[in-house]
Amino acid sequence: MALNVDLYDAILNGNAKKAHAATEAAIAAGVEPMALIQESMVPAMDEVGRLFECEEYFVPELLLAGRAMKGAMELLKPLLTAAGQKMAVRVVIGTVKGDLHDIGKNIVASMLEGSGFEVIDLGTDVSPENFVAAVEQRKPHVVCMSALLTVTMPAMKLTIDALQTAGLRTQVKVLIGGAPVTHQYAKEIGADGYSENANGAVGLVKNLLAGEAA
């Protein structure tokens, strides 16, 4: 296992410039893109998640680390495509209809991406129909929904119902989150999982898919 210390440190410290430079240098040196992701980026975001979990990092650090990771990923993506390589797990994520709060959703998206999943971000105010369309077209393994308002939480249920009606519910795992959402609510509306933070979201995706494989 070859850890690229420069890239690892740059992501951990949220330094986008250094992350970009380290990635360019690694590519120039002929490092396999997939190896760079799995052996340096994923461990870095893992550590970011751990630091957040033990309350050392907070939202600003998560956003900065996410940005550094994203910058590096943008350089690697075209190379992966060219090599015909794909991430094993695909996630569709969005903030539900009626809601424009996206900071938490963005953090979850970058933690997932940084954990080596392909993430398709539908943005904010995403209607149940648009979630359904994305599931049809992109065939994700997981759908993540975020809501920050008590009044937009019911849109999560509507989306799950719409997936059901479209006959797609069994093809995807549905995860929900956002400050007012609870474990209880997730159970009530038939979601497959809930986590109170972005780090937990990564663990959930891993567990759910592991459970499925088993």
Binding site: L63, K97, L100, H101, I103, T150, V151, T152, Q184
Partner: protein, 523 residues
């Protein structure tokens, strides 16, 4: 079929209730004024009761929100509890409220100060002749101004010269449906009646204010945010439940006392002033009037450090405003040991020779911390190096002792970072919208109770406000003062266009918010 009843006694007021066996406590307790801040979702732990006799099961939500120690002492969330036997309960909120009585706090501007503020604008509207209303009003000289807040209500009876003749304050009875506007909207959409309770409560307040002279009341003016405006007027709140949060019904609402069931002369005019846009209502409109923003060429700002975090900045040529949705941290709502500014609350914290010197309201031992204490404590922690600029407690211990048993947890500091980051980011973006710099600000008026209590020095240290100390002033209840000025003005004051800026639509918000969440390095 028989219906078994259980008896509940609520201490320390010794209120006796009877409930059907196995039923939820919410309705019965709410009827006696107990608040359910998160609407009974089991999330805020604001509805705690302690079992003094009998027993209540520990629910999932109890274990998630209360500490093992609290559970062992018998504390439970009232909103989750079901009564399976007769009980004696201690109501956490009442404990504070009763103690609060011997420690009065006055959110209302002093009468003298008010008189000087409105003095130039005599003679009063109360006696002005309205088109099509030449009636008796000129022979009557009294009016009522009401600030209808999401949490509290403040009302005053004034005469034609602006003298305050009577004052009433109360809690908003809609609090039984949740503490923030969103919970109220949800309750209304679920078919609950939030209009009747507030009309009844305000009717009683007006009756108390005007006792013995109701016949002289010519006008009542209410101000409040858009949700209060809609719920009072029985307007549909559905448009306020989703993007873009714009209701078609923002105009002034007029009522007769008979519409409302209020005991006032039939030709008395009751008005709820117009909203500005989004959730920003006439309380901010009145605040703009009270702060004199529209009067001069100098840039002046009004900041309401409440849950909605409204900010208005401008001058006589134009005003921009936004709501930054700070959340309840300044009211210590989301703080583990947070409480209102009543007896037992740490209200101030000074740093003297490297040690924390807390000031506890009343004489007793510290029981919790209120908003001003929280801001002070974090400012002191930053000064002493116990709290780092990124918000971490330096020694990694995850809690910062203020005055035992009161400590700040790491998560409390995070909550404060979110709230103050939202306000500061909103302020920066509004200044940017005006193309202005902090240095061109003539004054910043802090509205609301928290604005009155918070130490400006500390607010600056944590980066909640970013401006020279000399331009920042505590302005008290600007909504109520503005409402009175509107009542007394000879004619509607001419206001420049007020632009409501939706921060949600601004892609720059996230970066600004993240930047503002960290604390200033050295100040």
């Amino acid at each position: 079929m028989t219906c078994d009843l259980v008896r509940i006694r609520l201490e320390p007021l010794s209120v006796e209730l009877k409930l059907p066996l196995g039923s939820s406590l919410i309705a019965a307790l709410a009827a006696h004024g107990v608040e359910f801040p998160c609407g009974g979702m089991g999330e805020c732990s604001g509805c705690q009761v302690r079992v003094l006799s009998g027993s209540l099961l520990v629910t999932e939500a109890d274990s998630a929100t209360l500490t093992p120690d609290q559970l062992a002492k018998g504390w439970r969330l009232a909103c989750q509890a079901r009564a399976h036997e007769s009980l004696v309960l201690e109501c956490g909120q009442w404990r504070m409220q009763i103690l609060a009585d011997d420690n009065p706090s006055d959110p209302i501007p002093k009468v003298g100060a008010l008189a000087t503020m409105v003095a130039p604008s005599i003679p009063a509207v109360i006696s002005r002749e309205r088109a099509g209303d030449q009636s008796a009003s000129s022979s009557r000289g009294l009016a009522v101004a009401i600030d209808l807040g999401t949490t509290t209500i403040a009302a005053q009876l004034i005469d034609a010269s602006g003298n305050v003749l009577a004052v009433e304050t109360a809690l908003n009875p809609q609090a039984a449906f949740g503490s923030d506007v969103m919970s109220r909207i949800r309750a209304a959409l679920e078919g609950q009646d939030l209009t009747t309770p507030i009309r009844v409560a305000l009717g009683q307040i007006v009756a108390r204010l005007a006792r013995g002279r109701a016949s002289q009341v010519a006008e009542v003016l209410l101000v409040g945010n858009t949700v209060m405006h809609h719920l009072f007027g029985s307007l549909d709140v559905e448009p306020l439940a989703h993007v873009p949060f714009q209701s078609p019904n923002l105009a002034e609402q007029r009522f007769t006392p008979r519409d409302l069931g209020w005991d006032l002369p039939s030709d008395c005019v009751v008005r709820f002033a117009r909203c500005i846009g989004g959730f920003i209502g006439s309380d901010i409109l009145a605040g703009i009037v009270a702060a004199g923003i529209a009067l001069g060429d100098d840039l002046t700002a009004l900041v309401d450090l409440g849950t909605n975090g409204e900010i208005a900045i401008g001058n006589r040529h134009g005003i921009v405003c936004a709501s930054t949705a700070a959340g309840p941290a300044f009211e210590a709502g989301s703080i583990r040991m947070g409480m209102r500014a009543v007896t037992g609350a740490i209200a101030y914290v000074a740093l003297v020779d490297g040690t924390l010197r807390p000031t506890v309201l009343g004489d007793g031992a510290p029981r919790g911390i209120c908003g001003s204490g929280l801001v002070d404590a974090v400012a002191a922690g930053l000064r002493s190096g116990s709290i780092l600029a990124n918000g971490r407690i330096a020694d990694g211990s995850k809690n910062f002792p203020i005055a035992l048993p009161v400590v700040l947890y790491q998560s409390d500091i995070r909550e404060l970072q979110l709230a103050k980051g939202a306000i500061a980011a909103g302020f920066r973006l509004l200044l940017k919208r005006l193309g202005a710099q902090v240095s061109s600000l003539h004054a910043i008026h802090l509205a609301g109770a928290f604005g009155n209590y918070v130490q400006i020095e500390s607010a600056l240290r944590i980066g909640l406000l970013e401006a020279p100390h000399s331009v920042i002033h505590a302005a008290g209840n600007t909504a109520l003062r503005g409402a009175k000025m509107l009542l007394l003005a000879r004619e509607e004051p001419q206001l420049p266009p007020i632009e409501h800026v939706s921060l949600a639509a601004d892609p720059a918000f996230q970066d600004e918010f993240a930047a503002c969440m960290t604390f200033p390095e050295n100040l």
